[in-house]
Assembly symmetry: C2
Homo-oligomer: 138 residues x 2
């Protein structure tokens, strides 16, 4: 019995350590920006107020977490979307390809892409333009 209980204690300690380790996964943060067309703004917001479960599932499958999109009308009179998310996987390009190949995501983007206008100075291959991180504090 003593051995059993010791093992039980050990198991719980290991579970605890594993839980903490999982929550301290390496995280790569991404900030991006894109324009949203004024006449498509309401539809874009409606879509995102009740996002499709398949899209949310795909985000998790592609190791994207803590994903937020913000909206602001800027001084040029145009409205822009700013996104922040955390990537916890080990191959961002592969996960992004997996996302782009998903049938539900393709349908979702068929709805959202026409609502957006990308920045002219975005990097080659980008739709949302990546931003430069200048500060981070945990």
């Amino acid at each position: 019995m003593k051995v059993m209980r010791s093992l039980a204690v050990l198991a719980v300690v290991l579970l605890w350590a594993a839980g903490c380790a999982t929550q301290q996964t390496h995280v790569q943060r991404y900030g991006s920006v894109i324009g949203v067309k004024e006449d498509k703004l309401d539809y874009y917001k409606t879509l995102h107020a009740e996002p499709w479960q398949g899209v949310l599932d795909n985000l998790k499958a592609c190791h994207i977490r803590n994903y937020s999109i913000y909206l602001k009308k800027m001084d040029d009179g145009k409205t822009y979307l700013f996104s922040y998310f955390e990537y916890t996987g080990h191959d961002f390009d592969a996960d992004m390809k997996k996302m782009a190949d998903d049938e539900t995501v393709k349908k979702w983007w068929k709805e959202t892409d026409p609502c957006q206008f990308p920045l002219t100075n975005r990097k080659q291959g980008e739709w949302w333009a990546s931003m430069e991180e200048v500060f981070h504090s945990d």
Copy 2:
């Protein structure tokens, strides 16, 4: 001895639960935007590459965590800063007042404020303009 071991198991389980509970604190997310003057951009980046310890300590004391600032030159030719942070306290206004009253923070803002230009449509009392969250996925 049996009772002692049972208590030990219970203690570890409780510690684990407490650890998880701590990490699942209620979080309020904030996204904001402000302009950065072209001729002050380098200085702003230099400051934020090695932020003062007193400022970082104050962020923690005011329940601000996971704070990132991104930078992007937009289509109007001007450069903007986009911030994302999480607030884990219970009185945001009181914590923001505490931050504003801190001597080190006052000195920091004396350096950073002249680097920035706020959006014309910011709300009364704002420096950084708050943005509207249109999507979030944990």
